[in-house]
Amino acid sequence: MVRYAVHRLLVAIPTLVVIVTIAFFLIRIAPGGPFDLERPLHPKVMEHLERIYQLDRPLHEQYLSYLRNLLAGDLGPSFYFRDFTVSELILSGLPISVQVGASALLLALGLGGLLGVAAALRQNTRSDYAVMTVATLGVTVPNFVVAPVLTLIIGLQLQLLPVGGWGKPGNYVLPIIALCLPQIAAIARLTRASMIEVLSSNFVRTARAKGLRESVTITRHAIRAAILPVVSYMGPAVANIITGSVVVEQIFSIPGIGRYFVQGSLNRDYTLVMGVTVFYGALIILCNLIADLLYGVLDPKVRYD
C-alpha cells in the first residue's frame, strides 16, 4: 500500500506540471498587469517595478524560473500584498478555509449519507420523494445563488445571523450551509441509489434468511457496501467544496484562501493566483489518493500492491 501511495504521488508530478503550465499562461493572457492603476504610474517607476519582479524578461524564461522556484518550494512574493510571500498568505488563510471546508464536507457526508439511507429504506414513499426533490434542487441550484438568498432571508430579513465577517461562531453557519448544501444533495442521491441496489442484492437476502433483525441486516451487511460509491465520490466532493469556497468566501467576506484567489485574479497578482492554483491542485490530488486508499481498506477485493 505504501508503494502504491508513493507511485501515485510520483505520477501526480506531471499532472501538477500541466496544471502549472496552463495556469501560468492563462493568467498572462488576461489583459492588464499587476501594476496597472487608475492613474498610470510613471514609466520610470513601472520599468523599475517590472525589473524587480522580473516581468521584463521573456515569458518562457519567467515560466522556467517559476518552475525552478516551485521545485525549491518557493511560491514567490505577492505582487499586490507587498511584504508578503504567497506562502505566507496561503498559510494565513488555510486554517480558516480548512475549518469551513472540512465542516462542510463532514456535514455533507453525515447528513447526506443519513438522508440517502433513510430515503432508500422508505423507497417510493412521500419522505423518499421529499428528500429526493430537495436533493435535486440542491444539485441544480449553484451556491452563488444559494449564498445570496441565505444572506437575504436569514441575514437581512430575519436578522438571525451575520451576513459576513469572521471571528464569531455565528459567522460559520451561513457559509457552511451554502457550501455543503450541494454536497449533501449529491451524497444523498448517491447513497440512496447504491443502498437500494444493495438492499435487493443476494447477500442481503442471505443475511435476512439467517434470521438477522432488519436493523442488523442494514447496519452490518448493507451500509458498508452502500457507502463505497460515496467513498470514491470523496475526491470530486473536495474539489467541489474548494471551487464552492472560492465563491462563498468572497460573498461572506471570509479571509480564507478562496478569497485571496478571487482578489488575486482581479488584481492580476500572478504569483498569488499561481500559488493558490498549485495548492488546490495538490490538495485535490491528495484527497483523491486518500479516497482510493480508504476504498482499499473498505473493500477486501481491492488490494494495492
Binding site: 435487493s200 442484492s201 443476494n202 447477500f203 437476502r205 442471505t206 443475511a207 435476512r208 434468511a209 439467517k210 434470521g211 438477522l212 433483525r213 442488523v216 452490518r220 451487511h221 458498508r224 457496501a225 473498505l298 473493500d299 477486501p300 477485493k301
Partner: protein, 326 residues
C-alpha cells in the same frame, strides 16, 4: 405429524402490469428427514413458494394473499416477525442459487459463518469460531483454520456453495431449503455439492426441500416430488411413481423432453407454446393451451389437486375422469 404443512398458499405481486399470481393455491407437506423436490419451469412459482415461507418476499410489491404454513406448530405466514426470526436461520435454513453473490463480499467468511450461532444460540464468540472451522472442515474445505479468515472472493464457486452449506447447517436446522443450489456450478462440482447436502442431511436428520428444474437431479436425490406449473401444483407423488407413471400431461411432456441415449438421431421432443401470462386471469387448466390431450372441459372447469393413486396427486381433469391413460 409432518414437520411442515403448507395449505393453500397464495402469493402475488402487485405490479404496474397487473397482479401476478405467482403462487396460486399450493399445498404440500414435508416430513422429518424427508427430501422433497420441487420442479417446474422458470416462473412456475417454485422459488416464490419457498421465499414466502421464509418471509423473504419483498413487500411491496409482493403480498401473501392467503394460506397457512405450519412449521412444528407455528404458522410461518401469520406469526410475529420475532417468532419468524427465531425460526429462520436456526430451524429452517436456506441456500441459494448463486453462490458467487450470496455471500457478503465485505465480511470475512468466519464472521458470516458464526452469525447464525451468535444471534440464535448466543454462544461465546471464540467457541463459535471453533465451530466455524469445524463446519468448514465438515464441508470438505482444506486448511479450514486459515481459510476461515479469508474473504468470499478468495473462494471458487463450488467452494462458496460449500461455505453456504456450512453456514446453513451450522445451527443443525430441521429443514434446509435449497433453491437450485447447483445451477450455477460445473457438472462435476454439482455432484459433489449434492452429495454433501445428502451427507449433512443424514448426519443431522434434516429435511430438505430441493428446488430444481433439473429432472435428473431431482430423480436421483428426492423421496417425493412436486411438479409446479403456472403457480399451481400439477402433480405430486413419490419419486419413483412420478417418473414411472406420470399422472399429468405436463409431467409426461417434461419426461419426454429429456434427452436420453436411445433417442440418438431423432429430434428431441419439446412442449409447444409458452407458459401462460400470470398477470391475466386463467380460466380452466393453465396447461390446456399446450396440452395434447386437451378437451373442452379443460378450458372451462377449475382444476383441483386430487388423489389418483397411493399418495399420488394430479390436477388433470381428464386423468381424474379416467379419460386418458398416460
Amino acid at each position: 405429524m409432518p414437520l411442515l404443512e403448507v395449505e393453500n398458499l397464495k402469493t402475488s405481486f402487485h405490479t404496474r402490469e397487473g397482479v401476478v399470481r405467482a403462487v396460486n393455491d399450493v399445498s404440500f407437506s414435508v416430513d422429518k428427514g424427508e427430501t422433497l423436490g420441487i420442479v417446474g419451469e422458470s416462473g412456475s412459482g417454485k422459488s416464490v413458494t419457498c421465499y414466502s415461507l421464509m418471509g423473504l418476499i419483498p413487500q411491496p410489491p409482493g403480498r401473501i394473499e392467503g394460506g397457512r404454513a405450519l412449521f412444528d406448530g407455528t404458522d410461518l405466514l401469520h406469526c410475529t416477525p420475532r417468532q419468524l426470526r427465531s425460526i429462520r436461520g436456526r430451524r429452517i435454513a436456506m441456500i441459494f442459487q448463486d453462490p458467487m453473490t450470496s455471500l457478503n463480499p465485505y465480511l470475512r467468511v468466519e464472521d458470516q459463518l458464526i452469525e447464525p450461532l451468535l444471534i440464535h444460540d448466543r454462544i461465546d464468540r471464540n467457541l463459535a469460531k471453533e465451530m466455524a472451522v469445524q463446519a468448514l472442515k465438515d464441508v470438505g474445505i482444506q486448511d479450514a483454520g486459515n481459510r476461515v479468515r479469508g474473504y468470499p472472493h478468495e473462494f471458487s464457486g463450488g467452494m462458496r456453495q460449500r461455505v453456504m452449506i456450512a453456514m446453513a447447517m451450522i445451527t443443525k436446522p430441521d429443514l434446509l431449503i435449497a433453491d437450485e443450489p447447483t445451477t450455477a456450478l460445473d457438472v462435476t462440482v454439482q455432484a459433489q455439492i449434492l452429495e454433501l447436502i445428502k451427507r449433512e442431511q443424514q448426519e443431522n436428520g434434516t429435511a430438505v426441500i430441493l428446488i430444481s428444474h433439473d429432472l435428473g437431479v431431482v430423480a436421483g436425490f428426492c423421496d417425493r416430488v412436486l411438479v409446479m406449473y403456472a403457480g399451481k401444483v400439477a402433480e405430486m407423488a413419490a419419486t419413483k411413481p412420478l417418473f414411472a407413471h406420470p399422472q399429468h400431461p405436463y409431467n409426461r411432456a417434461l419426461q419426454r423432453s429429456r434427452p436420453t441415449g436411445d433417442m440418438k438421431g431423432n429430434e428431441l421432443y419439446t412442449i409447444p407454446g409458452l407458459p401462460p401470462d400470470l398477470s391475466k386471469e386463467i380460466v380452466g387448466c393453465p396447461f390446456a393451451p399446450r396440452c395434447e390431450f386437451v378437451a373442452d372441459a379443460c378450458r372451462k372447469d377449475q382444476v383441483r389437486l386430487e388423489t389418483v393413486g397411493d399418495d399420488h396427486y394430479s390436477s388433470c381433469l381428464r386423468v381424474h375422469r379416467r379419460e386418458i391413460d398416460l
